[in-house]
């Protein structure tokens, strides 16, 4: 839907003519994100009516006031690495592409925090923070992804949060353009101090900001944030090296950097792996934790080389891939990273780790614990090596919730892995062997507040059978009637919490103190005119009723006018 001349002119006045576009050619590059095919059955979601490139909070604030005046929806757009949460309710909407707001305002070494603007990527902050002995956790495989998107707006999960906590919990203070256009500095910021603490008297605005899994653009635009940093034990700089003539994808650290040690124990079965994981995480000795399947493998150039390697491995070490083949499985290997400041600290942590591994029958196989494999695992788990959707074209994480006891999380993970195995066996998803159940636990704060237990399904969105299976899989594991007896609302970040698709709030609100009513009240209070796009947050009214076990394509975005 085109904006009227008057509407366009009003928006143009906020950023200047160079920084606004309504050209279809430009607009149609803001609505083709990776997960769209799954949800919309096509790669395009709704085309925005215009995109703005603001440079200052004031410009956003003025544009948001224009949105209120003309009832235009708006949404922030950072690096665009998320999937569904970037889609729009309808085409009378604008996006703020935040790439001109890209300063690291401050790295405060003493107080271990950084102040950043929205287009500062996680990896960039890590590079700068490391120079001062500090670290911000990794975000998925999305090293282009923004610090603010991850910490203030969309909360997924990752391997370092065992140490750094979940991203949403690391926010100290923000500068926030509310859906009304007001600019709010929460906590100490509002009192004229810097963004040191988000909370003043009264209830926690930081909690409101965080919500369940982030508002995904649903309650305004964060234009600056102060975030916690953690100790970095490694060097100020590091080099990934490759041989001349080798593809860049082969580049790797030559060894685990000083200040860190990596261990990869392998257990007999998934139950033992998860039990050991629980003890390892609770011992408060880890900086990062994950499964070994990806990280330790030699880097390849592409799928063909991966396949050749797998075939070779299958010949020589069938048992390492397929437990049904009768032996141990790499699926039951975990990567544990410890950091240390003194030899004594390292000794203690290593001793502790080895003892726990031993208790659960763990073995340290040479091929997974040789120096180069450990160096790869380190890079992959601390920063991500960037390999993502090449294998099949897309992936879907399952929906385990982060809350609850380790026992519940373990049971849930096992159940979900079983479901996924059915689809794998039918050939709908990537499968690493008939028996492998791959569960990746991403524990938060040494498991003290739970873990995301994910079984990732790699499927091909352009293969109808695979796509169909992926949808059925999500339908099953979204657990609409609570048959898994889980504690906590199923969620995988904002990505699957798309109300018209998954009915998460609608199904789960009544089970948990009607939390959805609170969410809606907050939304209404912050956004009286409903101009901040809510598609990945909570709608003002539920648009259709939840059916039993339903997977539906969104009811919004269908009446697009090009």
């Amino acid at each position: 839907m085109k904006l009227s001349n008057e509407e366009y002119k009003a928006l143009e006045a906020t950023v200047g003519p160079e920084y606004i576009s309504q050209e279809p050619v430009i607009m149609d590059t803001y609505n083709q994100v990776w997960g769209n095919k799954f949800f919309f059955d096509e790669k395009h979601s709704v085309r925005p009516a215009a995109v703005l490139l603001p440079a200052r909070p004031k410009e956003i604030s003025e544009a948001v006031r224009v949105c209120n005046r003309y009832r235009i929806l708006f949404k922030a757009f950072s690096s665009g690495f998320e999937y569904l949460s970037l889609s729009l309710m309808n085409s009378k909407s604008i996006l703020f592409d935040l790439r001109r707001m890209n300063r690291i305002v401050e790295i405060d070494e003493k107080n271990m925090r950084a102040v950043v603007e929205p287009y500062v990527s996680v990896y960039r902050l890590q590079m700068e923070a490391a120079k001062k002995g500090l670290f911000t956790g990794r975000i998925g495989v999305g090293y282009s992804a923004g610090v603010i998107a991850a910490e203030c707006c969309h909360h997924g999960c990752q391997h370092t949060m065992v140490f750094t906590s979940g991203y949403g919990r690391n926010v100290l203070g923000v500068e926030w353009v509310l859906p009304t256009g007001e600019i709010l500095n929460v906590g100490t910021g509002e009192a004229g101090s810097d963004l040191f603490s988000a909370d003043g008297p009264g209830f926690s605005l930081r909690g409101v900001l965080r919500g369940r899994t982030g508002a995904n653009g649903g309650h305004g635009v964060i234009t600056k944030a102060s975030v916690k940093l953690y100790p970095w034990y490694g060097p100020k700089q590091w080099d990934h090296k490759k041989q001349p003539g080798e593809a860049l994808s082969k580049g790797q650290l030559e060894s685990v950097p000083d200040g860190y040690k990596v261990f990869v124990p392998t257990f007999q079965n998934l139950d033992d792996t998860l039990s050991a994981s629980e003890d390892l995480c609770r011992a408060e000795i880890l900086c990062a934790f994950g499964i070994a399947i990806v990280g330790t493998n030699p880097y390849s150039e592409g799928n063909d080389e991966d396949w050749a390697m797998m075939q070779k491995t299958a010949e020589t070490r069938a048992r390492d891939i397929d437990p049904a083949g009768g032996g141990v499985s790499i699926a039951n290997s975990v990567v544990c990273v410890i950091g240390y400041q003194s030899p004594g600290e390292m000794e203690y942590k290593e001793k502790c780790l080895r003892k726990i591994a031993e208790q659960w029958g763990g073995t340290f196989y040479d091929n997974l614990n040789e120096p180069r494999a450990l160096a790869r695992a380190f890079a992959d788990i601390m920063w991500s090596s960037g390999v993502n959707l090449r294998a099949t074209g897309d992936f879907l994480p399952s929906s385990s919730s982060p809350d609850g006891s380790p026992e519940m999380l373990k049971r849930l993970a096992l159940q979900e892995a079983e479901i996924k195995r059915r689809y794998e066996q039918a050939g709908a998803f990537l499968t690493l062997g008939s028996g492998a159940r791959m569960v990746s636990w991403r524990p938060e704060e040494h498991l003290s507040i739970g873990a995301q237990g994910i079984s990732t399904a790699q499927y091909d969105p352009y293969d109808p059978a695979s796509l169909q299976a992926a949808r059925k899989f999500i339908n099953e594991i979204f657990d609409p009637r609570g048959q898994f007896n889980r504690y906590g609302v199923p969620s995988r970040g904002g990505c699957l919490q798309i109300e018209p698709v998954t009915h998460v709030h609608q199904n789960w609100g009544p089970r948990y103190d009607n939390y959805d009513m609170w969410l809606r009240k907050i939304k209404k209070m912050l956004d009286p005119n409903t101009v901040a796009d809510w598609t990945a947050y909570i709608p003002p009214e539920y648009p259709d009723s939840p059916k039993d076990g339903d997977y539906v394509l969104p009811s919004y975005g269908k009446a697009e006018q090009l």
């Binding site: 279809p24 690291i104 099949t392 499968t431």
Partner: protein, 424 residues
């Protein structure tokens, strides 16, 4: 392959944005992380490689048409392939080939960039991309007394290329390169007035027919000489002879070398002695066409199939061009063999070097953008403490000189030929 044949790639572009940056594993300085000049300068996502996949997919689905904005996005791009390299660190798709095919489609549809029409007009009339007279082509070499293939023959053809032939400021470099070969006793000659454009730049603009035409012409010309080797000091020409002719099935039956190959060979054989000290701190700028785009073409025919349920693989296995086969060490070996010289790498080098700014027709149609891109590189050279930036292509030298002139940057801009001359 036509642009529609890249539908699979359009669908599979994940919008991860890796194409906007140099590959993450190789970032060393947060001031020099960007890889794509186009999106860095023009900001909208469309200007990135991913944006062009998106545009192509929208075009395929008839959601958009080719209009002025489409052309602006498509052509404000150096076709330097930095995006292609970064993307392929984790993908099996072909951003650069899609962009090339989109340009060919635009030309076929008569959707043309006015500045390029003038250049192509000149090419068709005068066989060069510099809007100059054909009869002036051999003037750069006057007085050198070198063999001319129009009247005699030699073992080696020295192909100067359009930029060196008509850019007077650069004549000393073209002559210097030739003189180095002559001094080393190489039996070398030039085509003189009969030398023509290689057709590579026209192809990058989307004029595929011109490439075929010049490839056939050159092959025929080579056949009539008894030369065994073609040497060019121009990286654009090198990539065209070496890669593009092969790509379109017209691989010439002659050894194709860049002058750095030949100089390195002469140095190794002791025919060229770099004895004089050159006490200066230099950095080397990899020309895109010698580096990542100089990687030999890989022909592949086969089919896609699936293993392990859904993993997409190829039969026979497909070797993607990921930049590793470019010419990187040869110029560095030459530079490092110069006594007294201090060599320093920039943050973005080899496969993931930042473009000089001239490529893909940008210098002709958008000179301010070309200069902006070049200025970024000069800044990087300064940041690593270099007193001179050395390249191996006349387009780089021209553009760096222009950028330095516009920004007042005092760094010395040298071709590797000039550096070698100083050491002799």
């Amino acid at each position: 392959m036509a642009w529609q044949d890249y539908t699979h790639d359009m669908q599979r572009c994940t919008r991860c944005s890796y194409c906007k940056w140099i590959p993450y594993r190789y970032m060393r300085d947060t001031g020099f992380m960007e890889g794509c000049p186009s999106v860095s300068r023009y900001l909208w996502h469309a200007y990135s490689a991913s944006g062009k996949f998106n545009m192509a997919y929208s075009l395929l689905q008839k959601r958009i048409e080719i209009d002025d904005i489409f052309l602006d996005v498509l052509y404000k791009c150096q076709m330097d392939g930095s995006c292609d390299i970064s993307c392929k660190v984790q993908q099996d798709i072909e951003p650069l080939q899609l962009m090339q095919e989109l340009r060919i489609k635009c030309v076929e549809d008569g959707q043309l960039v006015p500045a390029h029409m003038i250049v192509i007009d000149g090419l068709r009339k005068e066989d060069n991309m510099m809007q100059s007279k054909k009869q002036d082509r051999g003037r750069w070499v006057e007085g050198l007394g070198v063999k001319d293939f129009t009247s005699t023959t030699a073992e080696v053809i020295y192909h100067a290329g359009c930029r060196y032939s008509f850019d007077r400021d650069l004549w000393p470099v073209a002559r210097g390169g030739l003189q180095l070969l002559l001094d080393a006793g190489v039996d070398v000659g030039v085509m003189g007035v009969e030398e023509t454009c290689c057709g590579g730049r026209a192809y990058e603009l989307g004029y595929a027919g011109e490439l075929t035409k010049y490839a056939e012409h050159q092959i025929e010309t080579f056949r009539t000489t008894s030369a065994r080797t073609l040497v060019t000091p121009c990286s654009d020409c090198y990539a065209c002879f070496k890669v593009l002719y092969d790509k379109i099935g017209k691989k010439p039956d002659i050894e194709v070398l860049h002058i750095t190959h030949y100089l390195e060979r002469l140095i190794k054989e002791g025919k060229l002695r770099l004895k004089k000290k050159v006490p200066i701190k230099v950095t080397y700028h990899d020309p895109c066409h010698l580096g990542r785009l100089g990687e030999p073409w890989v022909h592949w025919q086969g089919k896609e199939y699936k293993v392990m349920g859904q993993m997409i693989v190829h039969d026979p296995p497909k070797k993607f061009r990921r930049g590793a086969g470019g010419v990187y060490e040869t110029p560095r070996n030459i530079i490092k063999s110069i006594p007294g010289l201090d060599f320093v790498e920039m943050y973005r080098s080899k496969e993931y070097a930042w473009c000089c700014g001239a490529g893909g027709g940008v210098i002709d149609a958008y000179p301010d953008y070309a200069a902006w891109t070049g200025a970024g590189r000069l800044k990087e050279a300064e940041a690593v403490g270099a007193e001179a930036i050395v390249s191996a292509c006349p387009w780089c030298k021209r553009n760096f000189l222009d950028a330095a002139g516009e920004t007042g940057n005092k760094i010395e801009v040298l071709d590797i030929i000039e550096l070698v001359q100083r050491a002799i």
